[in-house]
């Protein structure tokens, strides 16, 4: 053999294939001597992935936590006590809705 690349390739194949065989061998040939459950203060480990739909209260809490900074930002911008602030925000919002409806009508008549 004259090429270090070939040697590296042979070693890589040996390592990957041999490692796979060894891992499968060790994983499959269990003698089943002892099985220990995880001890979590006497309770079994809860699997959160089992429940398809999480409770509504959890979703609300998650949204509140996630959007907390955004909600605070918007609230301090709107609730200034000045009518003009509220009025200018509403104009921007109405303009955005108008543009969206125009785009919607133009793209999908």
């Amino acid at each position: 053999m004259a090429d270090p690349g070939t040697l590296g390739l042979i070693f890589s194949i040996t390592v990957i294939v041999g490692g796979l065989i060894l891992a499968v061998f060790v994983a499959v040939t269990k003698k089943g001597v002892r099985e220990t459950e995880p001890y979590l203060c006497g309770e079994s480990e809860t699997d959160f992935t089992d429940s398809v739909s999480p409770p509504a209260t959890e979703v609300q809490w998650g949204l509140e936590k996630t959007l907390d900074s955004w909600v605070r930002f918007v609230r301090t911008k709107i609730h200034t006590g000045v009518l003009d602030d509220w009025w200018s925000l509403m104009i921007v919002w109405a303009a955005l809705l108008l543009i969206m409806s125009l785009v919607r009508g133009w793209a999908w008549p």
Partner: protein, 326 residues
């Protein structure tokens, strides 16, 4: 390769000097470590299984391999980790084929770099076991290991390359040819400097005492193996022991020149290899038993000074030998 060569290759990787031989040698190395450490701490060490407790590490590993896996958390992908640790074990098994004790010897120019590449799989196994763990101790252990790798792996690569280059030239640097080459006076500087660097690399990579920072029992509750049990811990023990045995064997054959002043044809030469191997392991264990664990920054600084810089000096010596003397 024809079919007989392929069969011989598979035999060498699986039995001698590969997986079975190297793992038995690794358990023997662990036994020496445990006995010497026990002696230093006024304990007896393993005594129960086999004569003077010689088979205790094997019994420990077999017990772990036969125990059922302790599933700590749903987030622990232990099968993937088992595969990565197994690749480390197979990498060390395959790397023994570069040694002169192997019945089939694969030798190419620049195979020292191939050896460095293959050795990295075992480090990857150590890393994977901590990073895949759901425990913060495991992650901290592996991140400490990453800090050490930044110094240890370059030191390992440079020292192996420069010792090989001092024997076979900078453009060839064949570690398998360097192990059987005649040693002369001009190789001594690179050999001694590279040997010192490689010795520290061996202690750091096999997590011996001043450098067992990633698994620090008292601070990190076992670090990279804090949450590991069953077959995965058994495979980790095999990998750990094989790493120590492989690097001690590399030091014996490459730096201490194997059967020198005898030859491989002489049966007494093989006895001499065994004596040198035990001497390397005993020296490392004596150092490790008489020192306390360093902090991570102390460990990295010490390895940088006495392993990385010394290995660069060895590279300089090899280059001087190649470009000026020869």
């Amino acid at each position: 390769m024809n079919s007989i060569e392929v069969l011989l290759y598979l035999f060498a990787v699986a039995v001698f000097p590969g997986f079975i031989f190297l793992s038995l040698l690794g358990t023997f190395t662990e036994w020496i470590e445990r006995k010497v450490a026990a002696r230093a701490q006024n304990r007896m060490g393993p005594t129960y299984v086999g004569p003077v407790g010689l088979f205790q590490p094997i019994a420990d590993i077999l017990k772990l391999l036969w125990a059922k896996e302790l599933v700590v958390s749903k987030g622990f992908s232990w099968r993937t980790t088992l595969f990565l640790v197994s690749t480390g074990v197979m990498a060390l098994s395959a790397a023994t084929l570069l040694m002169p004790i192997s019945p089939i010897r694969l030798s190419t120019p620049l195979d020292s770099l191939v050896l460095v590449y293959v050795l990295f799989y075992s480090t990857l196994g150590f890393l994977a076991i901590g990073f895949s763990s759901p425990s913060p101790f495991g992650v901290v252990g592996s991140s400490r290991m990453l800090s050490m790798i930044c110094v240890v792996e370059p030191a390992a690569a440079i020292s192996i390359y420069s010792i090989s280059a001092s024997f076979t030239g900078m453009d060839t640097a064949s570690v398998s040819k360097a192990m059987i080459a005649e040693v002369g006076l001009q190789q001594l500087p690179a050999l001694i400097l590279g040997g010192v660097a490689l010795f520290l690399v061996m202690m750091a990579k096999s997590l011996m005492k001043p450098f067992d920072i990633p698994e620090a029992e008292t601070e990190l509750a076992g670090g990279i193996i804090a949450d590991v049990g069953g077959p995965l811990l058994g495979m980790f023990r095999i990998l750990h022991d094989m790493e120590a045995a492989f690097l001690a064997m590399l030091l014996t054959l490459l730096v201490l020149r194997g059967p020198y002043p005898l030859s491989y044809a002489d049966p007494l030469g093989w006895v001499l290899i065994g004596v040198k191997f035990v001497a390397v392991v005993l020296t490392a264990t004596a150092i490790s038993a008489s020192l306390g664990r360093l902090r991570i920054e102390q460990g990295v600084a010490l390895l940088g000074k006495y392993s990385l810089l010394v290995s660069i000096a060895a590279l300089g010596a090899a280059a001087l030998n190649y470009y000026v003397v020869v």
